[in-house]
Amino acid sequence: MQTQITPSTTSATAALDPQALQRLRDMAGSDDPELFSLVLQMFQQDAGHCLTHLREAIASQNADQLQKAAHALKGASAQVGACRLVLVCRSLEEVGLAANWINAVALRDQLEVEFQRVHAEIDTILAGGPA
């Protein structure tokens, strides 16, 4: 069974789903709250690498690399509840399959914007802010 990837209704504008974040906090437990922060830091790092691969794949029109990078980013995004990022990655996987490079460029731009939003929200959480 797979955890459902849909934004919760509590925060339509939040980049990260509060339910997914709570799930991660519960998994980290009260013994080691640093682990929760570590997951978010790891995600920022992993997502950055995936984005680099994704940009390279689109620039060189490498469909296989695009699919792999989009898939990897989608999986990591699902873990932290970055739901819109998951949706854009899914679309990028599809355009990768179809080798539709015009749509790929448009989706990459959407992804860059959403990634910045997610990144900023994580920074706020790591600084002890909301969510």
């Binding site: 998994m27 437990g29 682990l35 699902a78």
Partner: protein, 199 residues
């Protein structure tokens, strides 16, 4: 029981580490399939939890390598991946995985899979133990082999092992034979006689 986990993404590795710590499992982590394979060759792991898509060696390749080499004990392999779907599941099982779980996973389902892994490991140890038992006739000392066929110890070893049986007296029997010590010979044969007189 120490587990081996393999995932190239820190996000997944950290989340899996959190779950395993909470479930009370000890583990070591590899950053790709190749590193996991190198660790596996140095140390036996009863449970391996591996991602599918990884650089150098992927999870499917790791499954195949573990299954290709004969091991004394069984390793339960769980493929933990973001690749879902029937075809991927079937491919993983065909490569040697025992089970398949899609990320993000429910923690209780991971715990259930690991419990099954422990059960399988324990059963396989028992099977190995029974395989190691040799039914021997207490009277004539023949051994029961395949198809209920009984054969002499020498024949059994010649057929089923690489050992070559050559006859030679042990020091105690040699000494008894040299001095014609019938009493000592009788004592040395006593366990055999006792076994053959049992009902």
């Amino acid at each position: 029981m120490k587990l081996l986990i393999a995932d190239d993404m820190g996000t997944h590795r950290t989340i899996l580490s959190m779950s395993l710590k909470k479930l009370g499992h000890e583990f070591v982590a590899a950053e790709d399939g190749q590193q996991a394979w190198e660790m596996f060759q140095k140390q036996f792991f009863p449970i391996v939890v591996t991602d599918w898509q990884m650089p150098r060696l992927d999870g499917i390749g790791l499954c195949r390598r573990i299954r290709q080499e004969p091991h004394e004990q069984y390793t339960y392999i769980l493929v933990l991946t973001t690749l879902d779907g029937r075809m991927n599941y079937l491919e993983a099982i065909d490569a040697g995985a025992d089970d398949f779980l899609v990320k993000p996973y429910e923690e209780d389902l991971l715990a259930a899979r690991l419990l099954v892994g422990q059960r399988i490991g324990s059963l396989m140890t028992k099977v190995k133990h029974f395989e190691g038992m040799l039914p021997m006739c207490p009277t004539c000392r023949k051994i029961r082999a395949e198809d209920d066929h009984w054969m002499r110890v020498e024949q059994y070893f010649a057929k089923y092992t690489k050992a070559n049986i050559v006859h030679g007296s042990c020091p105690e029997c040699s000494k008894a034979l040299q001095v014609s010590d019938r009493g000592l010979l009788k004592r040395l044969r006593a366990p055999l006689l006792a076994a053959s007189s049992r009902p």
